[in-house]
């Protein structure tokens, strides 16, 4: 079935659209709305956004695949986005990523079998002062160590449990 916005999202979309005289500029925020609503941007979701805004699906796909923060594949309940850029790497991000991989049994880009976690590496999260950093869904976790990561993951698992 082709996806479509709930009434509430539809209303948000209309309000947002009114702020952009150039519809092309509304592609990014509309994709964010779609990702929030549908979890990830499937081909159908891209097609839906294309129809909403009056572009070809190819145009929308081009934008969606250019930016790494749009998920073209389904992600787990918790999307762990670990920074691998310069400051975080200097502060040991590489080891943390390995640690998480081992603990969760997945490689970066993978999702645990139960669908709880997706592990991704991302570029600078703009929080170099508190490196190493990861973003879990919308929340930042800073000054990470193996121990703090264990605590975060265990906590999330319990919550999910």
């Amino acid at each position: 079935m082709s996806p479509s916005f709930s009434e509430a999202t539809r209303a948000r979309f209309e309000r947002m659209l009114a702020r952009y005289p150039d519809k092309e500029a509304a592609i990014l925020p509309t994709l964010h709305l779609a990702q929030r609503e549908f979890g990830h941007l499937s081909g159908e979701a891209i097609d839906y956004v294309a129809t909403l805004l009056g572009f070809t699906p190819a145009r929308i796909e081009g934008v969606a695949t250019f930016y790494t923060m749009y998920n073209r594949k389904p992600v787990g309940k918790y999307h762990l986005q670990v920074c691998r850029n310069l400051s975080c790497s200097l502060m040991g991000a590489e080891h943390l990523i390995e640690h998480m991989s081992r603990k969760l049994g997945i490689k970066p880009g993978g999702t645990t079998a139960d669908g709880t976690f997706t592990l991704s590496t991302v570029e600078c999260l703009g929080s170099c002062g508190t490196a190493p950093v990861m973003q879990v869904n919308d929340d930042y976790h800073e000054d990470l160590t193996e121990e703090s990561i264990d605590a975060i993951l265990d906590g999330l698992r319990q919550e999910h449990g």
């Binding site: 891209i46 070809t56 699906p57 190819a58 145009r59 796909e61 250019f66």
Partner: protein, 526 residues
Amino acid sequence: MPNFTINGISVDVPQGTTILEAAKTAGIEIPHYCYHPKLSVAGNCRMCLVEVEKFPKLQIACNTIVTDGMAVKTDSEKVKQAVTGVLEFLLIHHPIDCPICDQAGECGLQIYYMKYGLHKSRYAVEDKVHKKKVQDIGGQIILDAERCILCSRCIRFLQEVTGTGELEFFQRGDHSEISIFPGRPLDNRYTGNLADICPVGALTSKDFRFKCRVWLLRGARSICPGCANGCNVEAHFKEEILYRLKPRQNDEVNKTWMCDPGRLEYKKANEARLLTPVNRENGIPKAAPWEAALSSVAFRLWEMVEKHGPGSVAVIASPQFSNEELFLARKLADEVLRTPHLGFSLRTVGDGFADDFLIKADKNPNTRGAKLLGISEEKFDDIVQNVADGKIRALLVFGNGIADLSDAETGRLLANVPFVVQIATNEGAVSRAAHAILPSASFVERGGTFTNHAGRVQRFWMGFPPRGKARSAIEIITGLANRLGAGWKSGGEAQVFRAIAQSEAPFAGMSYESLGELGQTAGGKG
């Protein structure tokens, strides 16, 4: 008019001219990939870098407007290094599979590498990013994504010319890739142009794929016979086989484009050709030498006129034939056979699709020409009526088919006529019924002119002599007329056109010289 110097040569150019275009007028080539004269400027390939005095950095020639007193260098060491560097970047992930690439021989990468590159790649072959090859993306196109240099010409063509926007770049960085949205193939009637404008082998023609190496092909300037638009084309052939049609620039007619159905028009010159004169004796078609064929046709026509009067003979001309041929056909009917029954039948194809760009509903290249020469379309129905009533004893049919009559209808109609002669290129319902077939030259086997829907008279040139025993229709008609006592001087299309210019008001003052490569508009209404 700004005056500027390029490599020391002083040139005047119109206001607003880019360095790249201005360089052309000075005879200087500036290498470029993304720039295309009929598309918007993207400025993304960086091949056109030039040095401009007083500018700290190199500038892209495709998007820098010439100003008065500007001094440009395209051959300095700095420019050469930059261009080689850009080329090295563009080739980093290129698969270099020229031996299996149709573009080889007319590829921008090959050409510029030999001229501006000749560098050793510093990138390891095993580090190259690979992308999907051999993708059928619809229309006439095969996509090989890893050959693409991301110039965006194809994207701009589909946005600016067809307005359909099927292609886009997906992903980013060295994973950037040109593609269609899954399940949404190319959906327009101009896809073949993508293979022309793609400077590399990323978008190639499905039809031409692996058929022939391009350096073996020769070209003839021609006119697409596919519809009344008369797009200027280049017909590419090897020996006696046509391989493809490519648009030839004519800003008044087709700019640098042509349509997809038009691109396949060449096939008829290769397939199911009538290549030898045929006489049917007691129902059995027999190949005949030209002399015998022409004499027996002339004799039968004379016999009918003698026995049943000129009104018993009819001529169905065809707007598939050139102005020169139609002019002679008219003279044959009017002055030699003296029959009132001369009309032309329109070839109709498919749904008669037309758009507001190039494609015309009339699928004949010379309908306007036939009308301007005073051959009437209205008479055609009259002739058909006379045939059906059994009043026509001899019928001379030009062309492969009769209007939009089906094969069965054609057979039934022609069965009413004791003697049917056909002058045509291809087998079909008419050739199956004709008592005599006089095979004529295809559009690339003869020269002449067509008059397009807008009255533009345009020349097409002979690429190679008629295949088999076929002859130009000019020779055939003249041969018949002279056997009927006309005493015409034999001559080529140029001579016939001179006669047209002398006696036909709409063509007055025209000559092959004045028509040139791009044609001229005929006066008067058609």
